[in-house]
């Protein structure tokens, strides 16, 4: 059953209660404020001139402009995919702004000191450290333990532009390049030319092609051979401007024997019109290298009646290009009105490994169609998928995953575990696994469960003194534990709190 098919009368019947709940939950999306700042927009709509303008704003070389234009021309011949279990009004791609940057960013700041204080304040309010301070891992109650000091380098993307990247100098000493992709295009063209579009080609899919034409900024990471990146890297995406799409592009290259852990966070203000987000993340992993990519996606999910929210169409893919390359995707998806996202692993190198851990929570009118693709091309490759989908309200949550064992991927293994949890009786969970095995020595295991939040469990918790929401949060966090454990610690705590917040108002 799709949301649109749901009899409308159900909403009307409970309208008083829901109004009360709406008001009550206004506080639950705590990143819904906006920053008043003077913006500079490209004209609304999309054509070759806009593509050229974006390229020119980023001071890109000719080859990059041509690359974008080629993507744009191809995009015009494509049609939007409709196979996902998602229902949303048609998107008018001409009714969007494709470029928005704070006016103060017109002259590129040389350092964070030159960045508009309003922008810095925005990130401070979001809890994102743009000063190169050491952040304390807030381990609750670790009385006796010495303060565990961890540092994270941050690239902050505000609408279409990166406002600053911290710890660049220190990273440079280790040989690590971490900068906005717009800067990488100017400063490291040889790397960008070699790898951009090599994992997600321009022609990959409708949204990826659109992104190739209009991406404005994003992060670029290069970790040289044998280097273990000295700190975690993170990009924080903030959509602020109205009617503006965000199209960021991230490119991560882990050279032979290197290691990097990368975190991605996202939020957007509350608006009653939907906003478009179509990102591409490409990861190239060479021999013996390892990349961990963790996402906490908390875009504005729309209100209780499904107004507004982000339409999130994202293409993320890692290419384990050489032997023994390893990638681990971990995602916690709590936001967005619409999520269309399948972080994938191409296991090309022999003995390469891909892992995908996902928690997708949909509440109210949210819809998510998300999962992964594990493409086994090399011998002895391994993959593991652990997906936890949670639906509440009238939300629809679909796991869609592909495991493909190619003829040469002999002796390969996949294990998939896919669990869905339903809260209430108006939501839906769907599991759509695709499995292709084209050799006789590989093995694929798939386990799937669907359950409802157990009344006995909730009563047990409440009989011990927890209120209903606390009880649900506890049970759901237990359900998600395998995935939460895969996250870096600070992220895990944030995610745990987010699980509780996302489900506010889902019971009773």
């Amino acid at each position: 059953m799709t949301v649109q098919d749901a009899p409308e009368i159900e909403v009307r019947e409970g309208v008083d209660r829901e109004t009360v709940e709406t008001v009550a939950s206004m506080g639950s999306y705590k990143y819904g404020w906006d920053t008043e700042i003077e913006m500079e927009y490209a004209p609304k709509g999309l054509n070759e001139d806009i593509v050229r303008l974006i390229s020119q704003k980023n001071e890109e070389p000719e080859w990059m402009t041509e690359w974008r234009l080629a993507a744009f021309r191809r995009w015009q011949t494509m049609t939007e995919p409709s196979w996902a279990m998602l229902n949303y009004p048609e998107i008018d791609f001409q009714d969007q702004y494709y470029y928005a940057r704070p006016k103060s960013m017109a002259v590129r700041p040389k350092s964070l000191d030159e960045v508009d204080p309003k922008l810095l304040a925005t990130y401070e309010k979001l809890g994102i450290p743009l000063r190169e301070q050491e952040i304390l891992a807030g381990v609750e109650g670790a009385d006796a333990a010495p303060a565990d000091v961890r540092r994270v380098a941050v690239d902050a993307v505000f609408d279409s532009v990166s406002v600053g990247t911290t710890f660049q100098d220190e990273l440079a000493k280790a040989g690590v390049i971490f900068c906005p992709i717009s800067e990488a295009i100017r400063k490291h063209p040889e790397l960008v030319k070699k790898y951009l579009g090599s994992v997600v080609p321009q022609s990959d899919n409708y949204y990826a092609t659109l992104n190739s034409a209009v991406f404005s900024d994003g992060s670029f990471v290069y970790v040289p051979p044998g280097v273990r990146c000295p700190m975690e890297l993170s990009t924080y995406f903030r959509i602020n401007a109205e009617n503006t799409g965000q199209f960021e592009r991230t490119l991560i290259i882990a050279d032979k024997g290197s290691y990097v852990s990368y975190l991605e966070g996202c939020t957007a203000p509350k608006r009653d019109t939907a906003q478009l987000h179509a990102a591409v993340v490409e990861i190239v992993i060479l021999e013996d290298a390892e990349v961990k990519y963790s996402t906490v996606q908390n875009w504005f999910p729309g209100d209780e009646e499904g107004r507004g929210g982000i339409y999130n169409f994202v293409t993320k893919r890692a290419d384990c290009r050489e032997p023994r390359a390893k990638v681990m995707w971990t995602q916690v998806e709590t936001g967005s009105a619409i999520t269309w996202k399948y972080p994938s692993c191409i296991l090309r190198g022999e003995e390469s490994q891909g892992e995908f851990y996902s928690i997708a929570i949909t509440n109210n009118m949210q819809q998510a169609d998300t999962g992964t693709k594990m493409i086994h091309l090399g011998k002895n490759t391994r993959s593991r998928i652990v997906s936890k989908g949670i639906s509440a309200g009238q939300a629809q949550n679909t796991y869609r995953g592909l495991v493909s064992m190619h003829p040469r991927a002999t002796d390969s293994r996949n294990y998939t575990q896919c669990d869905s949890l339903l809260i209430g009786d108006r939501c839906g969970a769907h599991t759509v696994p695709y499995i292709e095995v084209k050799n006789s020595s590989s093995r694929v295991e798939h386990e799937a469960t669907t359950s409802k939040v157990d009344e006995d469990q909730l009563f047990y918790c409440r009989a011990r003194g927890m209120d209903e929401e606390e009880a649900v949060a506890l049970v759901v966090n237990g359900f998600c534990r395998d995935v939460l454990q895969a996250l870096p610690m600070e992220f895990a705590m944030e995610a745990q709190a987010l699980v509780a917040i996302s489900l506010e108002g889902s019971v009773g």
């Binding site: 109650g141 006796a144 157990d454 009563f459 409440r462 009989a463 003194g465 506890l474 359900f479």
Partner: protein, 253 residues
């Protein structure tokens, strides 16, 4: 402490009366036992008192220290000092036993307007109380009741009771599925908690638990009513003659 007056309870989903006028007073500091044949309404009484869904109170009252229990949510009853040791403790996969305990303790403290226990204070307390019940660190780390043996589950209930320090404890067939050693441990745990300002209602089918937890008063329940009350000797009578004799005697009277 606990006062139940003429309590009538029906199942919500079907038109079936389970309790047909239960009247019972448990004064502070006392241990009362409720015995009775299967289906007499013993467990229903414990569920209704703790606020489980699915039951409809059609008549009567129940108060805890003067507060109307039946008006409260289950968590409010817990914070007010009511505790039910479940006959079938529920498994919660993925939630560590320790996390569960700490969440429960702090939820109650918060509801009562007290400060939450710090991690250090909590840890000290839980270790001390777990030790008395022969619960090791390993069992505290495991998910709540998942893969626990029958005895472990019941000891875990008593640990929760020891941590939550309720005023009124209801033990619903805590002896079911326990071997002699486990029963002794559980009884020791309960006896250690006996105090002048704490009362117990021990629901059991057999007399043997009452050898270890000696009650002040024993009530016999049948067909939704308390049909006879007496001292600990009443439990022995049940043990020797079975319920049939007592029920026949009551019917004759």
């Amino acid at each position: 402490m606990l006062q139940i007056n003429n309590l009538h309870v029906a199942l919500e989903d079907e038109d079936k009366q389970i309790l047909k006028g239960v009247t019972l007073t448990v004064p502070a500091g006392q241990v009362h036992a409720i015995m009775g044949p299967n289906g007499s309404g013993k467990s229903t009484l414990s569920y209704v008192l703790s606020g489980r869904d699915g039951y409809e109170v059609t008549e009567g009252q129940a108060t805890l220290e003067g507060h109307d229990l039946l008006e409260m949510e289950p968590e409010e009853r817990a914070a007010a000092g009511l505790f039910l040791a479940f006959q079938y403790p529920v498994e919660i996969p993925g939630v560590g036993n320790m996390t569960f305990l700490r969440t429960a303790v702090n939820a109650q403290r918060k509801a009562r307007g007290e400060d939450e226990l710090s991690a250090g204070e909590f840890l000290k307390l839980v270790r001390e109380r777990a030790k008395a019940l022969d619960i090791d660190a390993e069992m505290l780390k495991r998910p709540v009741n998942v893969g626990f043996s029958g005895g472990e589950k019941k000891r875990n209930e008593i640990l929760q009771m020891a941590m939550l320090e309720p005023r009124m404890c209801i033990l619903d067939e805590t002896d079911s599925g326990l071997d002699v050693d486990a029963m002794r441990l559980v009884a020791q745990g309960v006896n250690a908690l006996r105090a002048p300002d704490r009362s117990f209602l021990v629901i059991t089918h057999y007399q043997r638990l009452l050898d270890h937890i000696v009650p002040d008063v024993v009530h016999i329940m049948n067909d939704g009513r308390i049909v006879k009350s007496g001292g600990p000797e009443l439990a022995l009578e049940v043990e020797q003659n079975g319920y049939a004799d007592i029920l026949a005697e009551v019917a004759d009277a």
